[in-house]
Amino acid sequence: MRKGQYSQKLISNLEKKALRIRQLIIEMVYRAGSGHPGGSLSAVEIVTALYFHIMRIRPKEPHWEDRDRFILSKGHACPVLYAALAERGFFNIKELYTLRRINSILQGHPDMKKTPGVDMTSGSLGHGLSVGVGMALAAKLDNKDYHVYVLLGDGELQEGLIWEAAMSAAHYKLDNLTAIVDYNGLQVDGKVSDIMEIAPVAEKWKSFGWKVLKIDGHNFYQILESIEEAKSSRNVPVVIIAHTVKGKGVSFMENVVDWHGKAPTKEEYKLAMRELYGKK
């Protein structure tokens, strides 16, 4: 990777922001008493790069029609999205601690009608890429230059609908649509390769007519560079296969299946926070 393209300052700011988002994820899932820390933590750098450097958005005008769109197709990872939106100023940070509570603007899975900045309701796996196809088609129809990003889980690629969407995105030459696969290798019941193997992932996307980029999903240089490359694609949609670590940043959660969908106990919370704040 050519490190010269991005300033050290930019990268270090993004890294600081990523750490802050990790702290917020643990804090809100702990306070909620339920939620999905593992897949939220694996997507932190990707979501941070999008919301704090790449995407053209106006936090005070969440429905601005020329904004870039983001669909969290793996909707259970919404703590990472909520933290990014709050940090970016779409709503007050305090709202994060109402996650999953009655009357909250922050539902257990993203709700575009309740949360400012959420571009699409999601949480039922497999739908997000199709919705992205629709948004990208609308941009083409209106000659608008906004870009549509869809973050997919790796287990989610087991859904057949993903491949219907992949086929149609290539057919309609949607170069304004970028899919990012959070390839952390784990799903609810275990290793993706044990439950239902999705490999060879790159070859699958290629055969569906997509351009494939492979990166380390925790390396900001690689994330920024790959998204720039994706945006410059013409006539071909691009998928970025981001190799990640589930639970990244909290040592006892890393690569542990059980952290897919449970909240930390008080002791675990303290341990995690000590670790995250120690990294400042």
Partner: protein, 321 residues
């Protein structure tokens, strides 16, 4: 019989032409099909507005979710497939990606009912009304003829929110005049009578009108109501009919479980209990055959409506005593 020389036309044909007309006026209408555009008649729109017409191939779930994406960007997508595929293959897409965020998508479902005929059970949508009716935010519309189809499709563009519009496959009699006015949620009284009310939807409205003639010849006067909007249903009209005739018969080309009959029963048991009978599929699948043969075998013809009405009148008398 007045009914003997009626004009026939398919709802699909009327729909396809109406879409083109609306496409001229509303530049944000987009039309999505799933490889059956000749059958759904959206190819008219495709020929006139190729840029705004998308054939998603045999992939209904993708088509429906893509419609959700288009709707979030200000488009008014008309999604087209058969009732079976719309309501079941793409059911969760409709529920979670369209109805839950209340997106402005119109789902136009052809081949509603066993009147679809020869293709058999796989292509006969006979549970769709029940499925769509229990999805929050969803408006469910079932026009009785090609004119009602045209008018209700026109209204659908002005209505903001998800809507399911059920059409029949085969040519059906034109019962409305060109200048007939429709309002969503407001049922229409087509015949007045004090003895019994026949509440019908879709092509069963015509069967109800035929039944009314037969009943009249026997000295029984039926009110005939066209419920073109099954949800939100016209509660006032149903309660008023119950008060007036104290006998309600529902008629639908759909399973008697979950559809129009259930919707009417829900209102009556709450607001004005009255003797009721149901004409529809008796919790069974259909089979291949002509619509007429199927209606005869499965109890959906106007003769069955007459038979049920007479049975209902006997019950009504017992209740009164």
């Amino acid at each position: 019989m007045i009914m003997s020389n009626v004009m026939m036309m398919t709802m699909r044909e009327s729909y396809g032409k109406t879409l083109v007309k609306l496409g001229e006026k509303y530049k944000n209408i987009v039309v999505l099909d799933a490889d059956i555009s000749k059958s759904t008649c959206t190819y008219y729109f495709g020929k006139r507005f190729p840029q705004r017409w998308f054939n998603f191939g045999v992939a209904e779930q993708n088509m429906v979710s893509a419609a959700a994406g288009l709707a979030t960007c200000g488009k008014i997508p008309f999604v087209n497939t058969y009732a079976v595929f719309a309501s079941m293959r793409a059911c969760e897409q409709i529920r979670t990606m369209i109805a839950y965020p209340c997106l402005n998508v119109k789902i136009v479902a052809s081949h509603g009912g066993i009147s679809t005929g020869w293709d058999g059970v796989t292509h006969q949508g006979t549970e769709d009304i029940g499925i769509m009716r229990c999805i929050p935010n969803m408006t469910v519309v079932s026009p009785a003829d090609p004119i009602a189809t045209e008018k209700l499709i026109e209204i659908s563009v002005k209505h903001k929110g998800p809507m399911y519009i059920r059409l029949a496959r085969n040519p059906c009699p034109i019962i409305y005049g060109d200048d007939e006015k429709f309002t969503l949620g407001k049922a229409k009284i087509l015949k007045e009578g004090n003895d019994v009310t026949i509440v019908a939807t879709g092509i069963m409205v015509f069967e109800a009108l035929k039944a009314e003639e037969v009943l009249r010849s026997k000295g029984i006067y039926a009110r005939v109501v066209d419920i073109h909007t099954i949800k939100p249903i016209d509660e006032d009209m149903i309660v008023d009919s119950a008060k007036k005739t104290n006998a309600i018969l529902t008629a639908e080309d759909h399973n008697i479980l979950g559809g129009l009959g259930s919707a009417v029963a829900e209102i009556l048991c709450r607001s004005y209990p009255a003797p009721m009978e149901f004409v529809g599929l008796k919790d069974t699948f259909g089979e291949s055959g002509s619509p007429q043969e199927l209606f005869k075998k499965y109890g959906l013809s106007h003769k069955h409506i007459v038979h049920r009405a007479l049975k209902l009148l006997k019950r009504k008398k017992k209740v009164k005593v």
